[in-house]
């Protein structure tokens, strides 16, 4: 029986995935149908053994119930005795404080930029105003470094399906794949959600073309940067 070299490559990669980028991993897995299938079988085999193992394990339902019972909604007085849940609430509180803090900084930054822009426009001649506007623009746009994480909902035959996924997350993955940087010129655009099917075997020009079919979106490629207007 002949061994498919692509499957050997897959097995090599699975022994040391840290040595590969997300793009390389996806390329190896979706090299051909047989390789893709081999990965699926390996996943199913692991899940199968896990299923047998977990079916044989004894589960302490009383202990689990005790843990749940201390949830404030079921027993308000018990909330403080539950470390895990208390920790969750603490995390939520910290997140809210974090969001408020970042919002405050962003708000302060916007006000500051606004003042700078107004003062400069009054003082400079028109030609310099244009240059200055460009400088301010370059400071207000947000740059996303190539994403270290590649998360996708579906990968099939090189297709990745983004279903109701924020543009920010979607484009950072796409840009990472093509070795590009994403620049959002408008903060609000980041959180727009789309249903988009990305064929990672297509060139970036074609992908941009597909993205631009969305009415609310305008994406251009300039010097290895995906500019989102």
């Amino acid at each position: 029986m002949e061994t498919n070299p692509n499957i050997t490559r897959l097995l090599e990669m699975l022994d040391n995935p840290d040595a590969y980028s997300g793009k390389e991993i996806l390329d190896i897995i979706s090299k051909d149908d047989e390789t893709r299938e081999a990965y699926r079988i390996m996943v199913a085999a692991k899940q199968g053994y896990r299923n047998r193992e977990s079916g044989e394990q004894c589960i302490d339902v009383d202990k689990a119930w005790e843990r749940l019972e201390t949830h404030p909604q079921l027993s308000p007085e018990g909330s403080s005795s539950h470390p895990k849940i208390s920790h969750s609430w603490l995390k939520i509180a910290v997140s809210i404080i974090g969001v408020l803090f970042i919002s405050a900084i962003a708000y302060a930054a916007c006000i500051r930029l606004g003042i700078v822009g107004w003062q400069t426009q009054k003082a400079l001649p028109q030609s310099e105003q244009a240059n200055n506007k460009e400088a301010i623009r370059s400071r207000t746009i947000t740059r996303i470094a190539p994403a270290s994480k590649q998360e996708s909902d579906t990968i099939k035959s090189g297709l990745m399906v983004y279903d109701n996924v924020p543009l920010e997350k979607m484009l950072s993955e796409i840009a990472d794949y093509y070795g590009l940087e994403v620049i959002f010129e408008n903060e609000q655009t980041r959180q727009l959600r789309f249903h988009f099917v990305w064929n990672c075997k297509e060139g970036i020009d074609k992908v941009i073309d597909n993205l631009n079919h969305f009415e609310s979106l305008s994406v251009t490629l300039q010097d290895k940067q995906l500019i989102v207007e």
Binding site: L26, E37, A44, W65, L74, K149
Partner: protein, 162 residues
């Protein structure tokens, strides 16, 4: 306000099955427990119990979705490192069918593969050893381990499909 007695009954009836499913899909027992607890917490927050006769299906489906969300939050590298699926929607289109495939693959590996293929398969997917560790353990060349495992995967694909 949710009836605590009924809620407790629901919990005791389905917790074991839900944990078994979560542990199958997530390879961390802690993550699995969090997903199952979260399903019950959300029931409490919604202040409503699933319709009688549909509770089991509802709860297991909620666990499945919770596990999938947990997997989606992992990076590609994290997923392949632990052998998590990359094509969740495609593979789990029919959950019952999927569970049967699990069983069929393990049965085939245990009953039809011959040694050393079976031992390699078991060490890789049951014990979680890396192939180079298996090569050392079995005192084999790594290339031979690759070859045997590739053959086993091909056999399974031919016999069971996926």
């Amino acid at each position: 306000m949710i009836d605590k007695g009924l809620f407790k009954e629901l919990f005791y009836t389905y917790y074991g099955e839900m944990m078994c499913l979560a542990k199958t899909l997530l390879y961390s027992d802690d993550e699995a427990e969090d997903v199952v607890q979260d399903v019950f917490m959300r029931l409490m927050e919604a202040d409503i119990l699933p319709a009688e006769g549909k509770a089991g299906a509802y709860l297991l489906s909620a666990v499945r979705n919770g596990c999938f969300n947990c997997i989606r939050r992992k990076s590609i590298t994290e997923r392949v490192k632990s052998l998590y699926p990359l094509e969740i929607e495609v593979e789990w289109h029919d959950a019952d069918d999927r569970m049967e495939k699990f069983d069929a693959i393990c049965d085939f590996a245990e009953n039809n593969l011959k040694d050393p293929h079976r031992t390699i398969f078991r060490l890789r997917f049951k014990e979680g050893l890396k192939l180079r560790e298996i090569a050392t353990e079995l005192d084999m060349n790594i290339k031979t381990v690759y070859k045997y495992l590739s053959q086993s995967l091909k056999d399974i694909q031919r016999q069971i499909g996926h």
